[in-house]
Symmetry: C2
Subunit: 269 residues, 2 copies
């Protein structure tokens, strides 16, 4: 690599750290990259840390020990979170989103990378201090959000299937009762997906009674794994008691009026 000035190094180090939030980089990584002194890199990082803290966009943490180094802990200024959440609530409340049967059409929101990224960052904030091995979701609508959460936490994602797939090898399947529809459904995860003792967080787009989350809990038990917490974009206000002990919902859906087209959905931030 050519020689870089401080400002250029700062731009490049910022890029690398932000691209992998919560990933630990040894200072030697940057020392090798820029062929410069460790003290110089330390100063660069101190500047980036200041910039992130002052702008409310996160922090750079020092990680001690043998595998130590620094990592970027992402955040968004609280006011920006509120603006985002209110804009999203407004988008989700558009009357033309109501689908016969009382569902809300959300694909255009869930599948937009920029929105999924920001939702994922806000949701990941609740789990950043947990000692996690995986982020788990179930196909299909929650996958982009779960992927965004996994990205922020720098953890692999597991996608539970609705049915066993020949392309994924031997699998563990469970049956569960969907809390809302009372139908018996199946979910399945390849046996080699995770090892016993793993700690996971379950992410989904929507929670009504929590039947799916409870199903994941049971499936994880079969693997000897523990669901540390659950996170969803939207949970319904009713039933109040869900089938899982705890969960984080960024929004609460208080009601849908198919007749008037009114959707009452509010941010919990």
């Amino acid at each position: 690599m050519q020689e870089f000035k401080r400002n250029e190094r700062i731009s490049i180090i910022t890029k690398i750290l932000m691209e992998h939030p919560n990933r630990i980089y040894g200072l030697d990584f940057f020392v090798d990259m820029f062929k410069t002194a460790k003290s110089t890199i330390s100063e660069d990082i101190a500047i980036i840390k200041d910039a992130m803290i002052k702008s409310g966009m996160g922090d750079i943490h020092a990680v001690l020990g043998a595998g130590g180094g620094i990592r970027y802990v992402p955040d968004i200024p609280y006011e920006d979170k509120l603006v985002f959440a209110n804009r999203l609530a407004e988008m989700m409340s558009q009357p033309d989103r109501i689908i016969p049967g009382g569902y809300i059409y959300m694909n255009d929101i869930m599948y937009r990378p920029d929105l999924a990224d920001t939702m994922g960052l806000i949701l990941a904030g609740y789990f950043m201090k947990e000692d996690l091995d995986y982020v788990v979701t179930v196909e299909t609508k929650g996958i982009p959000l779960a992927m965004a959460v996994a990205r922020q936490l720098d953890k692999p994602l597991l996608i539970v299937r609705r049915e066993n797939r020949v392309t994924e090898g031997s699998a563990i399947s469970i049956n569960y009762v969907s809390g809302s529809s009372r139908r018996i459904q199946t979910m399945s995860l390849s046996r080699r997906s995770l090892s016993s003792g793993s700690r996971v967080v379950f992410i989904d787009d929507f929670m009504k009674a929590g039947g799916t989350a409870k199903g994941i809990l049971d499936l994880m038990k079969e693997f000897g794994a523990e669901v540390v917490n659950n996170g969803v974009l939207v949970a319904t206000s009713i039933p109040v008691d869900k089938l899982v002990d705890k969960y984080i919902a960024l929004f609460t859906l208080y009601g849908i009026d198919e007749f008037t087209g009114e959707i009452d959905i509010r941010s919990n931030l």
Copy 2:
């Protein structure tokens, strides 16, 4: 916001630009954010541009006209692409990945955000000059890769379902013949997903005969939309002629020997 020094501004502007590759930001956005002169912001951006070009990590393009401004065009140094591709080929060739039936277990690779991000960035590079409206994929295994491509291109993702879902409203479904299994399958996309005249790129994890890609082509025709190109992580060497005219595959699978456990998969970079 407080007052920021040049190197702090550079860190923050870098973060914002890199978080949304290919998104156009007016200079006024940064002028307002930092309460500083346009000429100062221009100088900041010139430094970031230099840093990106010198490090091979992309470029900052000026976009002229009314909605003009600047955008970050992402890239990876070619040597880093090669290192990544060779490492991935090695990972994919591990003998214990072979699943009865001659499939390769790939979930741990496809669902790791850091790998999906880099694959997505490399794949997106082939489509960055196309005038696109959407990235399209079909559930489930290609979703993280497609999401990563959509992120780099700053376009919304569409996820085609294997069956019609009550939660997504009225949909257009087509039947297609899976090129490899010769089975008739269905795919379905909510009617309100895209408008006529849209230009899309189809992204998937794997292509054998191209039956799925051909199915997407037909489905898009029903919407009056055009598939501009197809991109997959892995395509098989046989059949040589796929059911779609053109596609980009980052890797080619030349063969799987279930008896010896040998997987011959090579990077096309």
